[in-house]
């Protein structure tokens, strides 16, 4: 290996408000290699890739392409510098053919028209070169997810991408498709293309990459050549943060099962999201669901809440089968949910703080009434009073309960969501990423609330990709990977390394994975 690297990112820093996404990151991509960029959610991978592809400009640091300093003012600059990116969520025109998708925006022409034959030939040529069988005339919407991904790759290659960024490319693929994708990646690299593989899965890194850069908390924590990389080293680099003092002082009395999920399978758009998952949560217990986002946790939560139908399996809340019940009935029976997507699902930003606090409480006292003459009516005075009380109790920083929630900071808006859901005093609380986007002081307060909730006999299903959070709070931790419960740890067994390894798909029965061959 000699010469100038294909791309070098030097000293890249980027902050979003108070959050440091990248802190002096160096990334060197040698020509014709497969370079894995590893890290957990929030490690700064996506930001780094957005900077590399010109979607975000860095606060400081330099980008060198073929040794020449370069600045990207948008993805088009990156494309013309020879970069191509395959996003996790495809950007394809489903009604058009493969060839049309591949050449869109960079069409071969003849007499001012799209040269259809040249476009088809181009697809066939790329198919042949990379050993992929794709029919250029097929309509993209009718193709399997794996084939659609090939179309995405072809789009980049058609524009003569010399550096190909693949963002979590295997998240949507079946194992067979993963194998053939890796073969394509290998061929591309052998043909001189530089491939960047963004992933959190150790076995992918070990099986296809030449070099690895590991990020944690926005910094580079490990750089390996293929020969030196072991799963133990990778896990350590990914998760080896300081373990914070454990807040959970051990469980009190654990009662009867509040939630029983049996053999639940959830399908979305013909893709299986949750496979045969069984979970019990008992009163006075916090059960953690660990996992990198997109491994089925969110769909599991939606199925329990009732905003998504399960394909098979049963869900029992307090001994009653709620599989067919509406969201409203499930909530009335005793369910509260802190959702992952605060702005999209957990609040209405134009509505006032008071109104946001009222949803779900508007048919019960004190704001509404569940029986009598006042049934179906709302007392604005009670709404205001209750809102003021909750704002004070949960320390929401706002200049008035009538201001829209959209005017609050992220942490304070999250407190509004938490106040609303905790004040249900429901037997079961599902907390999904409850401290996402919240500053440190607020995190402690929220954790304290959750522990208090458990202490008073509440059952909590805590979904998080923060290992420290799970270790601090959960009595048991289940790890979801590829839609299944992949590993389960009791409190005493759980360590950062073990959970981190399981989240990355390393087999559960090993104490700490030591050998790549054991994967």
């Amino acid at each position: 290996m000699t010469t100038v690297p294909a791309v070098a990112l030097v000293g890249i820093s980027k902050r979003f408000g108070a959050i440091v996404a990248n802190d002096g990151v160096d990334l060197v991509l040698s020509r014709g290699t497969v370079h894995a960029v590893m890290g957990e959610n929030g490690a700064g991978k996506s930001t780094l890739m957005s900077i590399l592809f010109g979607l975000v400009s860095p606060d400081s640091g330099n980008i060198f392409v073929d040794g020449k300093p370069t600045t990207f003012s948008g993805p088009l600059d990156a494309i013309s510098s020879g970069l191509g990116m395959v996003h996790q969520h495809f950007r394809l025109f489903e009604s058009m053919t493969v060839a049309e998708n591949v050449v869109y925006g960079a069409e071969p022409r003849r007499n001012g028209l799209v040269n259809r034959k040249a476009a088809h030939d181009r697809v066939r040529e790329l198919s042949a070169r990379y050993g992929l069988d794709v029919d250029p005339g097929a309509v993209v919407g009718t193709l399997s997810v794996g084939t659609q991904q090939r179309v995405e790759i072809f789009k980049a290659l058609h524009r003569d991408a010399r550096i190909l960024i693949l963002d979590e490319p295997t998240a949507v693929l079946t194992p067979g498709e993963v194998t053939s994708l890796f073969a394509v990646i290998r061929r591309a690299a052998d043909a001189g293309t530089t491939v960047v593989l963004v992933t959190h899965k150790i076995n992918e890194v070990l099986s296809v990459s030449d070099e690895v850069t590991v990020l944690r908390d926005g910094r580079v924590t490990g750089r390996f050549q293929r020969a030196d990389a072991t799963s133990a080293k990778l896990v350590h680099a990914m998760t080896g943060r300081e373990v914070t003092p454990v807040a959970n002082s051990g469980s009190g009395s654990v009662g009867a099962a509040v939630l029983r999920v049996n053999n639940l399978t959830v399908v979305d758009h013909h893709t299986v999201r949750v496979t045969d998952v069984s979970v019990d949560v008992r009163a006075g217990e916090i059960v953690g669901i660990a996992g990198v986002s997109g491994n089925g946790q969110h769909e599991l939560v939606e199925a329990i809440l009732g905003t998504r139908r399960a394909l098979s399996g049963t869900i029992e809340l307090l001994g009653r089968d709620i599989g067919a019940a509406s969201v409203r009935d499930r909530r009335a029976l005793g369910l509260a949910v802190i959702p992952e997507d605060r702005r999209g699902e957990g609040s209405a930003v134009q509505l006032s703080t008071a109104e946001n606090l009222t949803l779900g409480h508007h048919r019960t006292a004190p704001v509404g009434a569940s029986r009598g003459l006042r049934r179906g009516w709302i007392s604005l005075r009670a709404e205001r009073a209750r809102a003021r009380d909750l704002i004070a109790e949960y320390d929401v920083r706002t200049s008035g309960e009538q201001l829209p929630v959209g005017s609050l900071s992220g942490g304070n808006a999250q407190k509004v969501v938490i106040a609303r859901e905790l004040s249900h005093n429901a037997p079961l609380l599902i907390a999904e990423q409850p401290t996402q986007g919240v500053d440190v002081g607020a995190i402690e307060a929220i954790h304290g609330r959750l522990l208090d909730y458990r202490a008073t006999g509440g059952a909590i299903l805590l979904v998080s990709h923060e290992i420290t959070e799970l270790l601090a709070l959960a009595d048991r931790i289940l790890v979801m990977y590829a839609g299944r419960i992949f590993a389960e740890f009791s409190r005493s067994e759980a360590t950062t390394a073990r959970i981190g390894a399981a989240m990355a798909g390393a087999q559960a029965e090993t104490d700490i994975p030591t050998e790549a061959s054991r994967l």
Partner: protein
Amino acid sequence: MNVFEWGFVAAVLLAATPILYSSLAGALSSQVGVFNIALEGQMLWGAFAAVAGSFYTGSAWAGVLIAVVTTALFSVTLAVGSARWGADPIVIAIGTNLFALGITGFLMRVLFDVSGTFSPRGLQGLDKMSFLAEIPVLGPVFAGQTALVPLAFVFIVVIGLWLKLTPSGLRLRGVGEHPEAASSLGIKVASYQMWVTIAGGALCGIAGAQLSLGNVTVFTENMTAGRGWIAVAAVMLVMGRPLWLPVACLGFGAAEALGFRLQGIGAPQQLTDAAPYAITIAVLVGMRMWVTARNRRPSLSAQPVPLPSQPESTS
């Protein structure tokens, strides 16, 4: 009443042509993702501008040109408002439809000092293609029509081919289907939306001109009388396949022509008035039921996904 006589075919074409032009405008807008319900107002303005233009210049074709240009300008509000400034095209369209209704009546009073109907002596209508009169079939169908009638079909074909064959047509289709994908490939989505909406305005100008200088030679207040809404129905009916527009519009034109005849013999014309809308809603519901039924039939690929296998590779 013989449906198969050539005169009826001519009447169908006459009724279909304004709808064809304006629904083409609506279909193009929907291809770039702009829901355009401003057709009624734009067509009405076009009809007025054509008559006014013909009146002032003494030339019907100059009237058409003026209608095309001014209606394109008229549509700039919708185009720029929705594509550049992110305003709601529905609300803008409700406003411009009211505005067109008012301003045409207002100008008729201010400029010509008449209300209700404007048909001054000597107002030039568009020439009929009477040179075809002697030719069988073509004669009875087209001799009484203006050149704008066959031109509508030329437009459909040309625009259909353009969408299908040219780079800009391909890009245009992508803009409506998946704007993020298009812009990630360097396409200026807002520009496409804006220019296509303005081109739609020009087409509505032709539609209005055909209505006021071709079908008749007069402008009357609110003379579009819902044709713009029938065009909107036609756009929904073809669901993004512009090449089907002639079928939908000829069908709707036949309903109108038939209704006119029914009225002549004192039979219920209301049936044919309602037909375009009733057919459209029935087709939309039927399509949806069919799609749902089709999706329900095959089992979802429900076998569980196996865990990732051991990597076959390298080490």
